[in-house]
Protein backbone atom coordinates (compact mmCIF):
# COMPACT_ATOMS: atom_id res chain seq x y z
CA UNK A 1 0.00 0.00 0.00
CA UNK A 2 2.74 2.38 1.05
CA UNK A 3 4.76 1.38 -2.01
CA UNK A 4 1.78 2.16 -4.26
CA UNK A 5 1.42 5.56 -2.60
CA UNK A 6 5.08 6.41 -3.19
CA UNK A 7 4.86 5.29 -6.82
CA UNK A 8 1.76 7.40 -7.32
CA UNK A 9 3.49 10.34 -5.67
CA UNK A 10 6.46 9.96 -8.01
CA UNK A 11 4.16 9.92 -10.99
CA UNK A 12 2.37 12.98 -9.74
CA UNK A 13 5.66 14.84 -9.16
CA UNK A 14 6.91 13.85 -12.59
CA UNK A 15 3.68 14.94 -14.29
CA UNK A 16 3.60 18.28 -12.51
CA UNK A 17 7.23 19.04 -13.30
CA UNK A 18 6.78 17.96 -16.91
CA UNK A 19 3.79 20.26 -17.23
CA UNK A 20 5.90 23.08 -15.78
CA UNK A 21 8.50 22.36 -18.47
CA UNK A 22 5.81 22.45 -21.16
CA UNK A 23 4.55 25.78 -19.84
CA UNK A 24 8.08 27.19 -20.15
CA UNK A 25 8.41 25.70 -23.64
CA UNK A 26 5.14 27.15 -24.90
CA UNK A 27 5.28 30.48 -23.06
CA UNK A 28 6.23 33.55 -25.14
CA UNK A 29 9.98 34.07 -25.29
CA UNK A 30 9.62 37.67 -24.13
CA UNK A 31 8.26 36.29 -20.85
CA UNK A 32 10.76 33.45 -20.32
CA UNK A 33 13.69 35.70 -21.24
CA UNK A 34 13.05 37.62 -18.03
CA UNK A 35 14.33 34.62 -16.03
CA UNK A 36 17.56 34.53 -18.04
CA UNK A 37 18.10 38.29 -17.88
CA UNK A 38 17.38 38.31 -14.13
CA UNK A 39 19.93 35.51 -13.61
CA UNK A 40 22.53 37.43 -15.62
CA UNK A 41 21.83 40.59 -13.65
CA UNK A 42 21.91 38.94 -10.20
CA UNK A 43 25.09 36.96 -10.89
CA UNK A 44 26.85 39.41 -13.20
CA UNK A 45 29.81 39.70 -10.83
CA UNK A 46 30.73 35.96 -10.61
CA UNK A 47 29.87 35.55 -14.29
CA UNK A 48 32.23 38.34 -15.38
CA UNK A 49 35.00 37.03 -13.10
CA UNK A 50 34.70 33.55 -14.58
CA UNK A 51 34.61 34.99 -18.07
CA UNK A 52 37.70 37.15 -17.53
CA UNK A 53 39.53 34.24 -15.96
CA UNK A 54 38.68 32.00 -18.90
CA UNK A 55 39.74 34.61 -21.45
CA UNK A 56 42.98 35.33 -19.54
CA UNK A 57 43.80 31.62 -19.47
CA UNK A 58 43.31 31.42 -23.23
CA UNK A 59 45.56 34.39 -23.95
CA UNK A 60 49.14 33.14 -24.19
CA UNK A 61 50.83 36.30 -25.51
CA UNK A 62 49.02 39.30 -24.00
CA UNK A 63 51.17 42.03 -25.60
CA UNK A 64 51.02 40.45 -29.04
CA UNK A 65 47.27 39.93 -28.69
CA UNK A 66 46.77 43.55 -27.60
CA UNK A 67 48.77 44.84 -30.55
CA UNK A 68 46.85 42.61 -32.92
CA UNK A 69 43.57 43.86 -31.47
CA UNK A 70 44.60 47.52 -31.75
CA UNK A 71 45.66 46.90 -35.33
CA UNK A 72 42.29 45.30 -36.01
CA UNK A 73 40.46 48.28 -34.50
CA UNK A 74 42.40 50.76 -36.66
CA UNK A 75 41.91 48.61 -39.74
CA UNK A 76 38.15 48.50 -39.13
CA UNK A 77 38.10 52.27 -38.65
CA UNK A 78 40.04 52.77 -41.89
CA UNK A 79 37.69 50.40 -43.74
CA UNK A 80 34.68 52.32 -42.44
CA UNK A 81 36.14 55.63 -43.59
CA UNK A 82 37.15 54.24 -46.97
CA UNK A 83 33.65 52.93 -47.57
CA UNK A 84 32.24 56.29 -46.55
CA UNK A 85 34.65 58.06 -48.89
CA UNK A 86 33.62 55.79 -51.74
CA UNK A 87 29.98 56.57 -51.10
CA UNK A 88 30.77 60.28 -50.90
CA UNK A 89 32.43 60.08 -54.29
CA UNK A 90 29.35 58.39 -55.70
CA UNK A 91 27.22 61.15 -54.24
CA UNK A 92 29.44 63.83 -55.75
CA UNK A 93 29.22 62.08 -59.07
CA UNK A 94 25.46 62.22 -58.88
CA UNK A 95 25.67 65.87 -57.81
CA UNK A 96 23.12 65.17 -55.15
CA UNK A 97 24.60 67.70 -52.80
CA UNK A 98 23.41 65.78 -49.79
CA UNK A 99 25.99 65.78 -47.02
CA UNK A 100 26.67 62.32 -45.64
CA UNK A 101 27.27 61.87 -41.98
CA UNK A 102 30.28 60.17 -40.51
CA UNK A 103 29.32 56.71 -39.25
CA UNK A 104 29.09 57.72 -35.60
CA UNK A 105 28.50 61.45 -35.91
CA UNK A 106 25.75 62.71 -33.60
CA UNK A 107 24.90 59.32 -32.21
CA UNK A 108 24.99 58.25 -28.60
CA UNK A 109 27.30 55.31 -28.00
CA UNK A 110 26.20 53.42 -24.91
CA UNK A 111 29.19 51.50 -23.58
CA UNK A 112 28.28 48.19 -22.00
CA UNK A 113 30.18 45.40 -20.29
CA UNK A 114 29.59 41.85 -21.48
CA UNK A 115 28.08 39.92 -18.55
CA UNK A 116 27.83 36.49 -20.07
CA UNK A 117 27.42 34.51 -23.23
CA UNK A 118 24.57 32.00 -22.98
CA UNK A 119 25.97 28.50 -23.01
CA UNK A 120 25.29 26.33 -26.05
CA UNK A 121 24.95 28.28 -29.27
CA UNK A 122 27.49 30.93 -28.24
CA UNK A 123 25.98 33.44 -30.64
CA UNK A 124 24.44 35.77 -28.14
CA UNK A 125 25.77 38.02 -25.40
CA UNK A 126 24.15 39.56 -22.37
CA UNK A 127 25.21 43.13 -21.59
CA UNK A 128 24.70 45.29 -18.53
CA UNK A 129 22.69 48.07 -20.22
CA UNK A 130 18.96 48.12 -20.84
CA UNK A 131 15.94 50.27 -21.54
CA UNK A 132 16.96 52.62 -18.70
CA UNK A 133 20.00 53.52 -20.83
CA UNK A 134 17.97 54.18 -23.97
CA UNK A 135 18.31 50.76 -25.58
CA UNK A 136 15.57 49.37 -27.80
CA UNK A 137 15.28 46.24 -29.91
CA UNK A 138 17.14 46.24 -33.23
CA UNK A 139 19.96 48.65 -32.39
CA UNK A 140 23.39 47.85 -33.77
CA UNK A 141 26.20 46.82 -31.44
CA UNK A 142 29.83 47.73 -32.06
CA UNK A 143 32.91 45.77 -31.06
CA UNK A 144 36.36 47.02 -32.03
CA UNK A 145 34.84 49.56 -34.48
CA UNK A 146 32.90 46.91 -36.37
CA UNK A 147 29.27 45.85 -36.23
CA UNK A 148 28.99 42.57 -34.36
CA UNK A 149 25.35 42.25 -33.35
CA UNK A 150 21.92 43.76 -32.86
CA UNK A 151 19.95 44.04 -29.63
CA UNK A 152 17.25 41.40 -29.40
CA UNK A 153 15.72 41.45 -25.90
CA UNK A 154 15.73 44.35 -23.49
CA UNK A 155 14.97 44.57 -19.80
CA UNK A 156 15.42 47.64 -17.62
CA UNK A 157 19.10 47.09 -16.84
CA UNK A 158 20.23 44.21 -19.05
CA UNK A 159 19.92 43.33 -22.70
CA UNK A 160 20.55 40.35 -24.88
CA UNK A 161 22.38 41.00 -28.13
CA UNK A 162 22.26 38.61 -31.06
CA UNK A 163 25.55 38.28 -32.92
CA UNK A 164 25.38 38.42 -36.71
CA UNK A 165 26.71 34.85 -36.68
CA UNK A 166 23.51 33.62 -34.99
CA UNK A 167 21.28 31.59 -37.33
CA UNK A 168 18.32 33.83 -36.42
CA UNK A 169 20.20 36.97 -37.48
CA UNK A 170 19.50 38.47 -40.91
CA UNK A 171 21.28 41.71 -41.78
CA UNK A 172 21.26 43.70 -45.03
CA UNK A 173 24.84 44.07 -46.31
CA UNK A 174 26.89 45.01 -49.33
CA UNK A 175 29.99 43.14 -50.45
CA UNK A 176 33.11 45.12 -51.35
CA UNK A 177 32.46 48.02 -53.68
CA UNK A 178 29.24 46.55 -55.03
CA UNK A 179 26.13 48.53 -54.17
CA UNK A 180 23.78 45.60 -54.47
CA UNK A 181 22.06 44.83 -51.21
CA UNK A 182 22.17 41.25 -49.96
CA UNK A 183 20.84 39.55 -46.85
CA UNK A 184 23.47 37.90 -44.68
CA UNK A 185 22.34 35.11 -42.36
CA UNK A 186 24.37 33.62 -39.48
CA UNK A 187 25.59 30.04 -39.53
CA UNK A 188 26.01 29.56 -35.79
CA UNK A 189 29.70 28.70 -36.05
CA UNK A 190 31.28 32.17 -35.84
CA UNK A 191 30.47 32.86 -39.47
CA UNK A 192 27.59 34.00 -41.67
CA UNK A 193 26.56 33.31 -45.26
CA UNK A 194 25.50 35.56 -48.12
CA UNK A 195 23.79 33.17 -50.53
CA UNK A 196 23.28 33.26 -54.28
CA UNK A 197 25.84 35.78 -55.52
CA UNK A 198 26.44 35.92 -59.26
CA UNK A 199 30.21 36.23 -59.06
CA UNK A 200 32.89 34.71 -56.92
CA UNK A 201 34.22 37.14 -54.31
CA UNK A 202 37.88 37.36 -53.38
CA UNK A 203 38.82 36.18 -49.88
CA UNK A 204 39.42 39.16 -47.59
CA UNK A 205 36.91 41.46 -49.32
CA UNK A 206 35.14 43.69 -46.79
CA UNK A 207 31.43 43.30 -46.09
CA UNK A 208 29.49 46.36 -44.90
CA UNK A 209 26.13 46.72 -43.18
CA UNK A 210 23.66 48.85 -45.11
CA UNK A 211 22.35 52.10 -43.75
CA UNK A 212 19.18 51.62 -41.74
CA UNK A 213 17.18 54.75 -40.99
CA UNK A 214 16.86 55.28 -37.26
CA UNK A 215 19.51 52.70 -36.47
CA UNK A 216 22.59 53.38 -38.61
CA UNK A 217 23.37 56.48 -40.67
CA UNK A 218 26.31 55.21 -42.69
CA UNK A 219 27.62 51.79 -43.75
CA UNK A 220 29.99 50.14 -41.30
CA UNK A 221 32.19 47.12 -41.64
CA UNK A 222 30.74 43.88 -40.31
CA UNK A 223 33.06 41.20 -41.62
CA UNK A 224 35.39 39.89 -44.28
CA UNK A 225 34.88 37.21 -46.89
CA UNK A 226 36.44 33.95 -45.68
CA UNK A 227 35.53 31.73 -48.62
CA UNK A 228 33.36 31.46 -51.71
CA UNK A 229 31.82 28.17 -52.73
CA UNK A 230 29.32 27.15 -55.35
CA UNK A 231 25.70 26.91 -54.27
CA UNK A 232 24.69 23.27 -53.93
CA UNK A 233 21.30 23.73 -55.64
CA UNK A 234 22.35 26.30 -58.26
CA UNK A 235 26.00 25.67 -59.19
CA UNK A 236 26.12 28.86 -61.28
CA UNK A 237 25.72 30.96 -58.17
CA UNK A 238 28.09 31.43 -55.25
CA UNK A 239 27.60 31.28 -51.49
CA UNK A 240 29.92 33.59 -49.58
CA UNK A 241 31.06 32.83 -46.04
CA UNK A 242 31.74 35.91 -43.94
CA UNK A 243 33.75 35.98 -40.71
CA UNK A 244 33.85 38.75 -38.09
CA UNK A 245 36.69 41.29 -38.22
CA UNK A 246 37.23 41.17 -34.49
CA UNK A 247 37.64 38.48 -31.86
CA UNK A 248 34.12 38.59 -30.46
CA UNK A 249 34.83 36.09 -27.69
CA UNK A 250 37.62 38.30 -26.34
CA UNK A 251 35.45 41.42 -26.11
CA UNK A 252 34.87 42.65 -22.58
CA UNK A 253 33.08 45.83 -23.64
CA UNK A 254 30.82 46.68 -26.53
CA UNK A 255 29.03 49.87 -27.61
CA UNK A 256 25.39 50.12 -28.60
CA UNK A 257 24.54 52.71 -31.27
CA UNK A 258 21.61 54.81 -30.05
CA UNK A 259 20.66 57.09 -32.94
CA UNK A 260 17.96 59.13 -31.23
CA UNK A 261 19.06 59.47 -27.62
CA UNK A 262 16.48 60.81 -25.16
CA UNK A 263 17.88 64.09 -23.98
Amino acid sequence: MAKNQIRCSNRMTFTLLLLTGLVFLLAPQSLTNKFQLAFARIFRWPLSIGRNFSLAARTHQPVKQMLKRSQMQYQNHIDNLEELLRQERLKVQKLSGIRERLPLEGVNLVLAAVSMAPEGLKNELIINRGSDDGLTVGQFVLGDNSIIATTSDISSRTARVRLFTDPASKIAVTVGTSNIERIMQGNGDNSATIPMLKNRVKTGTQVFTRKKPGFLDAPMIIGKVAQSERNKESPLLWDITVEPVCDIEALNDVAVIVMNPNK
Partner: protein, 157 residues
Protein backbone atom coordinates in the same frame (compact mmCIF):
# COMPACT_ATOMS: atom_id res chain seq x y z
CA UNK B 1 18.89 14.90 0.63
CA UNK B 2 20.42 18.15 1.78
CA UNK B 3 18.54 20.56 -0.40
CA UNK B 4 20.45 23.71 0.56
CA UNK B 5 23.72 22.06 -0.42
CA UNK B 6 22.07 20.79 -3.61
CA UNK B 7 20.98 24.33 -4.60
CA UNK B 8 24.46 25.69 -3.84
CA UNK B 9 26.08 22.95 -5.95
CA UNK B 10 23.74 23.54 -8.90
CA UNK B 11 24.29 27.30 -8.68
CA UNK B 12 28.06 26.93 -8.72
CA UNK B 13 27.90 24.44 -11.61
CA UNK B 14 25.59 26.76 -13.58
CA UNK B 15 27.85 29.78 -13.04
CA UNK B 16 30.94 27.80 -14.03
CA UNK B 17 29.18 26.47 -17.12
CA UNK B 18 28.04 29.94 -18.18
CA UNK B 19 31.33 31.71 -17.53
CA UNK B 20 34.50 29.67 -17.18
CA UNK B 21 33.60 26.80 -19.52
CA UNK B 22 31.40 28.69 -21.99
CA UNK B 23 34.35 30.00 -23.99
CA UNK B 24 35.90 26.64 -24.80
CA UNK B 25 34.95 25.16 -28.14
CA UNK B 26 34.07 21.80 -26.60
CA UNK B 27 33.54 21.63 -22.86
CA UNK B 28 32.27 19.13 -20.31
CA UNK B 29 28.64 19.65 -19.33
CA UNK B 30 28.72 19.91 -15.53
CA UNK B 31 24.93 19.91 -15.29
CA UNK B 32 24.70 16.68 -17.30
CA UNK B 33 27.27 15.08 -14.98
CA UNK B 34 25.29 16.19 -11.92
CA UNK B 35 22.06 14.89 -13.47
CA UNK B 36 23.55 11.40 -13.80
CA UNK B 37 25.10 11.65 -10.33
CA UNK B 38 21.76 12.40 -8.64
CA UNK B 39 19.92 9.84 -10.78
CA UNK B 40 22.39 7.17 -9.68
CA UNK B 41 22.80 8.03 -5.98
CA UNK B 42 19.45 9.51 -4.87
CA UNK B 43 16.12 7.82 -4.28
CA UNK B 44 13.59 8.06 -7.09
CA UNK B 45 11.45 10.96 -5.84
CA UNK B 46 14.51 13.12 -5.07
CA UNK B 47 16.12 12.20 -8.39
CA UNK B 48 13.01 13.26 -10.37
CA UNK B 49 12.95 16.66 -8.66
CA UNK B 50 16.72 17.15 -9.11
CA UNK B 51 16.48 16.20 -12.82
CA UNK B 52 13.91 18.90 -13.54
CA UNK B 53 15.72 21.44 -11.36
CA UNK B 54 19.00 20.81 -13.20
CA UNK B 55 17.08 21.14 -16.48
CA UNK B 56 15.78 24.53 -15.33
CA UNK B 57 19.34 25.61 -14.48
CA UNK B 58 20.50 24.47 -17.92
CA UNK B 59 17.70 26.47 -19.56
CA UNK B 60 18.57 29.62 -17.62
CA UNK B 61 21.97 29.77 -19.35
CA UNK B 62 20.84 28.59 -22.78
CA UNK B 63 19.24 30.61 -25.59
CA UNK B 64 15.67 29.42 -25.02
CA UNK B 65 13.70 28.33 -21.95
CA UNK B 66 11.81 25.03 -21.88
CA UNK B 67 13.59 22.41 -24.01
CA UNK B 68 16.17 21.41 -21.41
CA UNK B 69 13.74 21.22 -18.47
CA UNK B 70 11.78 18.61 -20.42
CA UNK B 71 14.86 16.78 -21.78
CA UNK B 72 16.71 16.64 -18.47
CA UNK B 73 13.53 15.73 -16.62
CA UNK B 74 12.53 12.93 -19.00
CA UNK B 75 15.93 11.29 -19.36
CA UNK B 76 16.90 11.87 -15.71
CA UNK B 77 13.72 10.05 -14.65
CA UNK B 78 14.35 7.29 -17.20
CA UNK B 79 17.85 6.87 -15.79
CA UNK B 80 16.47 6.57 -12.25
CA UNK B 81 14.29 3.64 -13.29
CA UNK B 82 17.05 2.11 -15.39
CA UNK B 83 19.34 2.30 -12.36
CA UNK B 84 16.91 0.05 -10.50
CA UNK B 85 17.40 -2.65 -13.14
CA UNK B 86 21.10 -2.14 -13.97
CA UNK B 87 23.13 -0.75 -11.08
CA UNK B 88 25.39 1.99 -12.44
CA UNK B 89 28.04 1.87 -9.75
CA UNK B 90 31.29 1.24 -11.64
CA UNK B 91 33.09 4.16 -13.24
CA UNK B 92 33.00 2.81 -16.83
CA UNK B 93 29.24 2.26 -16.54
CA UNK B 94 28.84 5.78 -15.18
CA UNK B 95 30.86 7.14 -18.09
CA UNK B 96 28.69 5.24 -20.57
CA UNK B 97 25.54 6.47 -18.79
CA UNK B 98 26.76 10.09 -19.02
CA UNK B 99 27.64 9.70 -22.70
CA UNK B 100 24.33 8.13 -23.74
CA UNK B 101 22.25 10.49 -21.57
CA UNK B 102 24.15 13.45 -23.03
CA UNK B 103 23.44 12.36 -26.59
CA UNK B 104 19.75 11.70 -25.86
CA UNK B 105 19.24 14.96 -23.97
CA UNK B 106 21.06 16.96 -26.65
CA UNK B 107 19.01 15.39 -29.45
CA UNK B 108 15.67 15.98 -27.72
CA UNK B 109 16.71 19.53 -26.80
CA UNK B 110 17.59 20.12 -30.46
CA UNK B 111 14.18 18.98 -31.67
CA UNK B 112 12.30 20.89 -28.98
CA UNK B 113 14.31 24.00 -29.83
CA UNK B 114 13.28 23.60 -33.48
CA UNK B 115 9.69 23.25 -32.28
CA UNK B 116 10.05 26.71 -30.75
CA UNK B 117 11.11 27.94 -34.22
CA UNK B 118 14.59 28.70 -32.92
CA UNK B 119 17.31 28.19 -35.54
CA UNK B 120 19.91 25.49 -34.98
CA UNK B 121 23.69 25.59 -35.16
CA UNK B 122 25.40 24.02 -38.17
CA UNK B 123 27.73 21.61 -36.34
CA UNK B 124 25.28 20.88 -33.57
CA UNK B 125 25.63 17.07 -33.58
CA UNK B 126 29.43 17.23 -33.73
CA UNK B 127 29.46 19.59 -30.74
CA UNK B 128 26.99 17.33 -28.94
CA UNK B 129 29.19 14.30 -29.52
CA UNK B 130 32.27 16.16 -28.28
CA UNK B 131 30.53 17.51 -25.18
CA UNK B 132 29.04 14.11 -24.28
CA UNK B 133 32.39 12.37 -24.74
CA UNK B 134 34.23 15.00 -22.70
CA UNK B 135 31.58 14.82 -19.95
CA UNK B 136 31.77 11.02 -19.92
CA UNK B 137 35.56 11.14 -19.46
CA UNK B 138 35.52 13.77 -16.72
CA UNK B 139 32.17 12.98 -15.04
CA UNK B 140 32.91 9.87 -12.93
CA UNK B 141 35.86 11.66 -11.32
CA UNK B 142 33.58 14.51 -10.24
CA UNK B 143 31.14 12.13 -8.54
CA UNK B 144 33.35 11.79 -5.44
CA UNK B 145 33.61 15.53 -4.57
CA UNK B 146 29.89 15.93 -5.38
CA UNK B 147 29.04 13.02 -3.06
CA UNK B 148 31.21 14.53 -0.32
CA UNK B 149 29.49 17.90 -0.66
CA UNK B 150 25.96 16.46 -0.65
CA UNK B 151 26.95 13.94 2.08
CA UNK B 152 25.83 10.96 0.04
CA UNK B 153 27.42 7.56 0.60
CA UNK B 154 28.47 6.42 -2.84
CA UNK B 155 28.94 2.74 -1.86
CA UNK B 156 25.30 2.10 -1.16
CA UNK B 157 24.83 -0.86 -3.50
Amino acid sequence: MRWFRFVALILVATLLQASLLAYWDINPDLLLILLVFFAVYCNSSEAIITSFTIGFAADIISPAMGPQIISFGLFGTALVYLNRVIAIKKMPYQAIAIFITGILIGTLTHWLTLLRAEPATKNMFLMLLGTSLYSALVGPFLFLPAAWWIRIKTKRF
